[in-house]
Symmetry: C2
């Protein structure tokens, strides 16, 4: 660990980013799935599916980062980092897609002529979409930091 | 132009990518805006706005690429390339968001209980979303090729 890129694999900043991703995506999934009838809309099912992928991924990498900080043992190898960057990239694209879909569907449900969702349900969906956007933002940050580190290995 | 990365700025492949982006985003905008009442839905307005940004950007870069091929004069400088990569990146994120929003809203309009859009209108919206996805894909390809070239300058 000669030259530290803050936020790249195995640093405290990276651990915080991963923890943030796990928390925000779990919150998004909880707000979405504890409200009833989320399976009635394709976009909401898609969000739940994507969050179900993001949570284990971010949690595993948070554990790896935590282990790497505690043991002071760097696990940086070009192959591992490439897999992590590719996985982060794909998951961040999927998260963005899910967040946008959910947000636009909630907007349509709110502003349509008839009362298609109660105020309470709609605000749950909105919070879920907001959490998904935050998770996307942190995921994008992780991708960029690790991508920045990649050519130096 | 010693070492050619296919698809990076100033190559024939890049010119084709830019041309494809311009065509697909124009088609998306036309299918969306020639159908009536697209301004009734936030997601559709957003798609039209983003396409209005993507079309001039891709068209300008197609002209630059075409000029660069014809005159055999490379315009590759780190500063210019950085601006192009950043612009492509932001526009591809915006395009993906617009395409996902449109697709999910169309899906909701199609599968909701009442007849919220006629078959003809809905298929126009679907084609528009598909064109936006294709435009996003080509834009992502351009970003990646130019990003690949960036460290070598």
């Amino acid at each position: 660990m000669d030259e530290e890129v803050p936020g790249s694999l195995g640093t405290r900043a990276s651990f915080s980013l991963r923890l943030g991703q796990t928390i925000f995506s779990s919150a998004s999934l909880l707000f979405m799935s504890l409200g009833v009838q989320f399976y009635g809309y394709t976009a909401f099912c898609y969000l739940a599916t994507v969050m179900g992928l993001v949570i284990p991924w971010s949690f595993t990498l948070a554990l790896v980062d935590g282990y790497s900080i505690l043991v002071k043992c760097s696990i940086r190898q070009p192959g591992i980092l490439l897999v992590i960057v590719a996985g982060d990239w794909i998951l961040s694209i999927l998260t963005l897609a899910a967040a946008c879909s959910t947000a636009s569907v909630v907007d349509l449900l709110l502003h349509a002529d008839g009362p298609y969702c109660s105020q309470k349900l709609c605000s749950r969906y909105q919070i879920s979409a907001a959490m998904a956007f935050l998770s996307w933002f942190l995921s994008l940050a992780s991708t960029l930091f690790n991508l920045w580190l990649l050519p130096s290995l």
